[in-house]
């Protein structure tokens, strides 16, 4: 790039930065920006939050869905670019706050809520209820034939079975190595390392017998899989809850009241069904959110 072009470019950047910094100032008042991470469940929950605010308050909601990963959303809300998004307790605890994974849901929740308020001025509202953690899944026919309900039951048949796991599950501190120790799991062969999405396919086609999916994945009901219960509470909790800027809640307490109505309304199975409508049936997120709100959070 020539020096002149560079200078021009710098000036353009400065103007752009100036304009962007003006945006929050204009926005103050009756607008609220809801962000989401770059996967379906996050988009879907953001849409639920957005519609619920629209239903219960006079605020205008701007949606900025599919922004990026955890880091991007966190930076955006800390910078005030977005006012709210849905985060998971376990992710906040390990990825954002950099703590070593802990199994007890209550202590994670308390730590996350307190540190977010203190360090970032962010408020954790009550969670939706479901826990999006790793889910050890098997085919329904196998579960019924072998009488499998828990992961401890699985340990009994594991020596005859093959497992296919995603790289994240195989590598993470709270993934397979610890699970194998906790339950004494030994498979017929070392688990095959695969792309997560393909593990579902491999399980459905009988190429492997056990996978580790996500507990709210829409493919679980779609492929008629059974999630085995983590009876020894090995997996850390990943409860989803809206995270909102304190400044927004102080100015608009009606937002907190509106979102409190969603607390505890979504079970794992319910979330799976909503994800399946989006991912498997390819329905519009706004429609799924509207249907669900109309049915489960009726206007008095």
């Amino acid at each position: 790039m020539s020096p002149t072009a560079t200078r021009r470019w710098c000036r353009a950047t400065r103007v752009a930065v100036l304009l962007v910094s003006l945006v929050p100032a204009c926005r103050r008042g009756d607008r609220i920006v809801v962000g989401a991470k770059n996967f379906t469940e996050s988009d879907l929950l953001a849409e639920l939050v957005a519609q619920q605010i629209e239903r219960r308050t006079a605020l205008t909601v701007e949606r900025r869905l599919h922004l990026g990963g955890t880091f991007v959303c966190h930076q955006a809300i800390v910078a005030g670019e977005i006012d709210a998004y849905v985060e998971y307790t376990g992710t906040a605890f390990t990825a954002v706050l950099q703590h070593v994974p802990v199994q007890d849901p209550d202590s994670v929740w308390r730590a996350v809520a307190a540190e977010y308020l203190e360090r970032f001025g962010l408020v954790w509202l009550p969670p939706f209820g479901f826990n999006n953690t790793f889910a050890i899944a098997v085919r329904r026919a196998d579960a019924e034939r072998e009488g499998l309900r828990t992961i401890a039951d699985l340990a009994r048949v594991a020596p005859r079975w093959r497992a296919g796991f995603g790289y994240e599950f195989l590598e993470r501190a709270d993934g397979f190595p610890g699970l194998a120790r906790t339950y004494g799991l030994r498979f017929a062969a070392p688990p095959t390392a695969m792309e997560l999405g393909l593990t579902y396919r491999a399980l459905a086609d009988g190429r492997v017998d056990v996978i580790a999916g996500n507990s709210t994945d829409g493919l679980i009901p779609a492929l008629d899989l059974v999630v085995l219960e983590d009876d020894r509470r090995y997996f850390p909790p990943y409860h989803a809850a809206p995270v909102v800027r304190r400044a927004v809640l102080l100015r608009h307490p009606e937002v907190e009241r509106a979102l409190a109505e969603l607390a505890g309304r979504l079970s794992d199975a319910e979330m799976r069904r909503l994800n399946a409508r989006a991912d498997v049936e390819r329905q519009d997120l706004a429609v799924i959110a509207r249907d669900w709100l109309a049915e489960h959070v009726p206007t008095p």
């Binding site: 195989l170 999405g197 491999a202």
Partner: protein, 210 residues
């Protein structure tokens, strides 16, 4: 942890993955040659096949690798999980440049040379073996070169289906947000691709001198 430290600590594993990677690319290229060269020759003898065959190979190449794995898993012979499926996918991707360049190379042999050969009483097989193929070798080799370079890169996705290779480091690194790990897989793959490109390029130049 720096990359050098990483290799110092995981040298055996890294070499093993490199070996798997080479085997994946080697076998898939060999199979693609065994299918692609005869098919490319057949196209020069049956012009009507050209469009459907090249069209199909073209479409194959545009299938995203994960989607291709998705199709392959349920297949009885090529399918499943592991190296065989990965090789099947790599063959699919390597076919187009090999078929196309074989066809182009053979059809591009000077018409006068072919006519002279035929007029002298060479059989189709003799003409192919002694004249057309030797003269087409540089062009075919250029196709192989493309196939190998693309194959070295594409073979990293073999790790998505449990077939190992350098992609294992890349997938692990992406899953755990570990840049060193991603580099540990991506860097040797890139070096391998460049080396294959340079080596086959030199061979191609040497053979096309005559």
């Amino acid at each position: 942890m720096s990359l050098i430290e990483f290799y110092a600590r995981n040298g055996r594993e890294a070499l093993g993955l490199l070996g798997q990677h080479l085997v994946l690319v080697g076998i898939s290229t060999a199979v693609a040659l065994a299918i692609g060269v005869p098919l490319g020759i057949a196209l020069t003898r049956r012009p009507a096949w050209r469009r459907p065959v090249l069209g199909t190979a073209n479409v194959f190449q545009t299938i995203p690798s994960l989607a291709l794995f998705g199709f392959l898993i349920p297949l009885p012979l090529l399918g499943g999980i592991g190296a065989r499926t990965a090789i099947a996918a790599l063959v699919v991707y390597a076919l187009l440049p090999i078929i196309r360049n074989t066809y182009t190379g053979v059809i591009g042999v000077d018409a006068a040379v072919v006519e002279a050969g035929r007029g002298m009483g060479m059989t189709d097989g003799e003409l192919l073996r002694l004249v057309e193929l030797p003269l087409a070798v540089p062009v075919i080799l250029a196709g192989v070169r493309i196939a190998v370079v693309v194959g070295v890169g594409t073979a990293t996705i073999a790790a998505a289906i449990g077939a190992g290779g350098l992609g294992v480091y890349i997938f692990r690194g992406v899953a755990t947000v570990n840049d060193t790990l991603i580099l540990a897989g991506a860097l040797p793959a890139a070096v391998l691709a460049l080396a294959a490109d340079a080596g086959l390029g030199a061979l191609e130049r040497r053979l096309s001198r005559r």
